[in-house]
Amino acid sequence: MNDKYPELQIGPLRFNLANDIGLLVAAVVVFLLVYWLSRNPKIRPDGKQNLLEWVIDFTNGIVKGEMPGTEGNKFKLFSFTMFLFVIVMNQLGLFINVNVNGYTWFHSPTANPLITMTLASIVLILSHYYGVETNGLGGYLKSYLNPINLIEEFTNFMTLSLRLYGNIFAGEILVMLLRNMALSGGLTGILAFPFGFVFEMVWQVFSVFIGSIQAYIFVILGSVYMSHKAVKE
């Protein structure tokens, strides 16, 4: 994308406001959603509580699939939050894309490699932390006597972040290209508009699917990496 982004420099830190606004909006949406869903929980759940419990069971199931024992319990909230956060970020940019004077002010934060790398770092650094906590520093370091494990750490990080980034970025590009085609104007534009409109809709649906799948894959792979480290052999 040859878009330009509004940026803000504070000291040594540079902020890409399109990412940051997206992150903030996604976080607020996630929080408001679960906050609303979790109001006055009951022993006999009603509609919205059922929905929330279904999501909780879903992410708990992901964690339990990798870590069946009690050691998985501390990752359940993490997986739940990560899943909702990623899925909302993936979907947000699909139908909201704010562009003012050539500057993109709002898009899916996960369409930026830096954001996905940060998310992957959170997962992997946490996994290293629990690796040390579970096996002790000696046991943790022993696994790196085999240098292939070091390479694996790097590839884990790259695949986890770039898979998410690539899928969402490609989806956004295609959404944008279809939109540009539909709004190209002129004689061809009149012909292209219906096609562009239909394909845009189809692609958006598909992107919703991809965004959900990618969030699921992100969390499930995070659990796998976590379980490699945090489960005693």
């Binding site: 902020f15 909230l77 956060f85 954001i115």
Partner: protein, 167 residues
């Protein structure tokens, strides 16, 4: 101001920091306001279901035990009832036989006594009649004899005797 700061190369470290902070804050808030209450409720529900199932199992076992007890009691009661009826029947029969036997004995006693009485009465009557006949005979004889003892009859009688003697 913001728009002017585009294009500088390098990592947007601020974004990384922002992502990290946003995620951590989001996780804390979700954990406190949504995850906590709902998972607590889910755990509570699981406990309740476990308790209820245990309770149901216990109740069922108790009910089964009670049923068995009732059934055996019922069986005992039935047997008891049958034995009571049988005893009563046997008693009744025995008693009725006794009564009948007693009645027979009494009847034959009465009959014998009555026959004796009759015989006695007959004897008495006969005796009485015999005495009366004797008395009557004596009376009649004395009456006849007294009447004949006037002078003419005496004479005639004597005459008869003498005549007889004379023959």
């Amino acid at each position: 101001m913001i728009h002017g700061l585009i294009g500088a190369a390098g990592l947007e470290l601020g974004d990384m920091l922002f992502t990290l902070v946003t995620f951590i804050v989001l996780m804390l808030l979700v954990g406190k306001y949504a995850w906590g209450p709902v998972t607590k409720m889910m755990a509570k529900r699981q406990d309740k279901i476990t308790d209820d199932l245990d309770y149901a199992d216990k109740s069922r076992a108790e009910a089964q035990e009670l049923l068995n007890k009732r059934q055996s009691e019922l069986k005992n009661t039935q047997a008891e009832a049958v034995s009571i009826v049988n005893t009563a029947k046997a008693n009744g029969e025995k008693q009725s036989k006794e009564i009948v036997a007693q009645a027979h004995a009494e009847a034959s006693d009465l009959k014998a006594k009555a026959q004796d009485d009759i015989a006695q009465a007959k004897q008495d009557a006969l005796n009485g009649a015999r005495d009366q006949v004797a008395d009557l005979s004596v009376t009649i004889a004395s009456k006849i004899i007294g009447k004949e003892l006037n002078a003419d009859d005496q004479q005639a009688l004597i005459d008869d005797y003498i005549k007889g003697l004379g023959d």
